[in-house]
Symmetry: C2
Subunit: 116 residues, 2 copies
Amino acid sequence: MSERFARTPKPPYYAVIFANQRTPGDDGYGATADRMVELASQQPGFLGIESTRDEAGFGITVSYWESEAAIAAWRADAEHADARRDGRERWYEHFELRVARVERAYGGPARRGEGA
Amino acid sequence: MSERFARTPKPPYYAVIFANQRTPGDDGYGATADRMVELASQQPGFLGIESTRDEAGFGITVSYWESEAAIAAWRADAEHADARRDGRERWYEHFELRVARVERAYGGPARRGEGA
């Protein structure tokens, strides 16, 4: 399995779904984005992250967390708060953020002849 | 706002988070993917979809639904079932699918001086 998939436990757990349109140019975004993944990964309750972006700059990042409390603690991190401010001011033309409780999950493909 | 964002109502509603790694080549994928978006959009309880994929073929698609029942009905659609079979057999090297209940949501950016 690619390292790009999050290795999450059995549900329930929480997902932060962050859909966003980047402004043109890097403007410090790449380094901060890498740092935020590094920092989030060290947070208590962090379960994993999946992220991708197309050539038009439209990206979706989903981070997974044990609990709402873990999400709230990450939100309170000072360096993360600074990055969110820069995001609003410089990096994102628009974003939509949704917090969701994962109820069920499965992976694949399970092909014919390989069992369920 | 870009048309790439789903115009979802106030929570609660449901999200199907589909992270996937494509196999190389198109092999009929593009046309079927477009058709599935068209077909999903016509389903009762469909709220919207956000989707992106990078140059390495790693994609995330999140579709939004009014209820678990709406997701189950879409899953039971015969043409969709055929497409999922092709996905498992030909189009996806790996995927992770998660069904989640969206609890809260907000959009941005709300920049300084523009209010909350």
